[in-house]
Symmetry: C2
Subunit: 353 residues, 2 copies
Amino acid sequence: MRLVLDAMGGDHAPAAPVEGGVLFARAHPGHQVLLVGDEAKVAPLLGRLRPPTNLQVHHASEVVEMDEHASTAFRRKRDSSLRVGFELVRDGQAEALVSAGNSGAVMAGGLLTLGRLPGVERPAIAALFPALKGGGRCLLLDAGANVDCKPSHLAQFAVMGEAYVRARMGVARPRVAVLSNGEESSKGTPLTREVSGLLRRSDLDFVGYVEGKDLFSGEVQVVVTDGFTGNVVLKTSEGVGMGVIGMLRQAIERRGGLAEKVGAMLLQPALAGLRRVVDYAEYGGAPLLGIQGVGIVAHGRSTPRALFNALGAALAMAEGGVQAELTRCIGRAAAWLPTHPKGKRATDAGVSD
Amino acid sequence: MRLVLDAMGGDHAPAAPVEGGVLFARAHPGHQVLLVGDEAKVAPLLGRLRPPTNLQVHHASEVVEMDEHASTAFRRKRDSSLRVGFELVRDGQAEALVSAGNSGAVMAGGLLTLGRLPGVERPAIAALFPALKGGGRCLLLDAGANVDCKPSHLAQFAVMGEAYVRARMGVARPRVAVLSNGEESSKGTPLTREVSGLLRRSDLDFVGYVEGKDLFSGEVQVVVTDGFTGNVVLKTSEGVGMGVIGMLRQAIERRGGLAEKVGAMLLQPALAGLRRVVDYAEYGGAPLLGIQGVGIVAHGRSTPRALFNALGAALAMAEGGVQAELTRCIGRAAAWLPTHPKGKRATDAGVSD
């Protein structure tokens, strides 16, 4: 497999992608890493790391910045690392792309360059949350691609999310839910109520509404919502998780007794483990589900380790027949799901980070 | 001051309200606590606690249950503890009400029994979040009362939230923001964009969009959103916070070495402090802003301690001239804020827990 890694995307680019790419290439000598970005910036960093031969640099002179309008910037910057990277995938020179750059632009690029899987109205960003009891995981989609969603969009997110969790995570029969402001069916918005009506007619294991806290309960594996709410939830949970860890540290330091210092030292391994679980970047990034190819959105703050994991996720998704399963399930869903194939394109509708 | 405490509201009712009420009455001999609820259930519990004379029981035979439709149940159950309690406030026999019951019903009851402050279109539930760096606080509204919101509703939430934070928390010039899926003004939904337009014309210190993580950053003091998103955010952050604490415990127990056990023991005070900050119930509940009277929604899981704190918050709000300040600010806002006084009543529009 040949994997594109956007060398210019993310807060720590190009250093973090360069190092993450080298780590991955070394660990996977049977696969290729294509580092796409400004050769003048990438080469000096690479020189010091003595890259293996299965890592190559592919030059691209431009960068889509984090604060640019996603689809506009992607369209205008014809030699951006992101666009050149996606074109390598489109032209069959690579099987997957990973970027820690502007996630709206990654989504726009996937749509514009690779297109949608047959029958998909809107691709979604799928973010994996760790269960905080037991060892499960919960996939939230859409985590930020589509701010305005119709019921059929969310129903397709459920179908794609369920297929992904089965195919990639080995859960035989994932439980699917709609995110709402309460579990009773009288709660929710017109959107959540209509989606629930659709999903009740589906062959998915649909359990109805769940609340924000249930993302971490381990009791459901797929939760759907619009990209606005999904993004707010993602960033809220990240904020709390990282904040709590910081606060625990602060409390230890402020109290400052010898006992606390010793306690904190002894707890370092547990704290590090906690941090790894809370920081969703460690999970290997969020896949775009519904595009004609494999694209992974890594966190903007991604470290080399996080990008290493994201490449691993890209590899697994490219190898594992996930795309075929998504396509099959979207096709089957047409039996109960009315679709709007002539709907507005997601890239024009406020693709978001 | 005379404070109504709903003896039948919450997961641990009537035991927790009875105990919390007794604690509060003992600590505040100059004030009155009216425990409203089923005398047959309350009296035996009370007997054992030797209640002070400034605590009295006021009988009410019915209970609005957690899973009932809020405004319907409030209307139908004429002798519910919540309704009788609000009527005591309406009739001048008490100055404030605290309930850990169905929060939608508390909102509905406030609206139906006490009515709105002059000029207020929709009251909101205001939830206080702890900053996870520094010592600040951030007020989020609406935390669940109004699922469908117009731009003018959110603008009024901003006005009321700002007034509350100034009057109650002593912040001279609170910074106000709109919750969105990114900080750039190109992000958001039609609702968030229109609200931003309104708030830019206001005399508030409006900083634009913030993301979910900024609720905990200490950099903004008032964040407005619709009640659906607000409720999802509230429950997500509660889920992460409590889950992280549980996970830390689990990690310590699983590793199980003597070192970790000693470390955990030494860290108990810090962990307890953390729990107190993360569990927003400890803050004394969420005030209803915009009703003609003081109503506090306590968490359903409230302990006696949490209800003690909620009574303290009710007392402070009833004493502190907060209502007058809210009314003044809503009046002043009419200069820049077009309102829709004939809008649909919030109680008919999906009041939520």
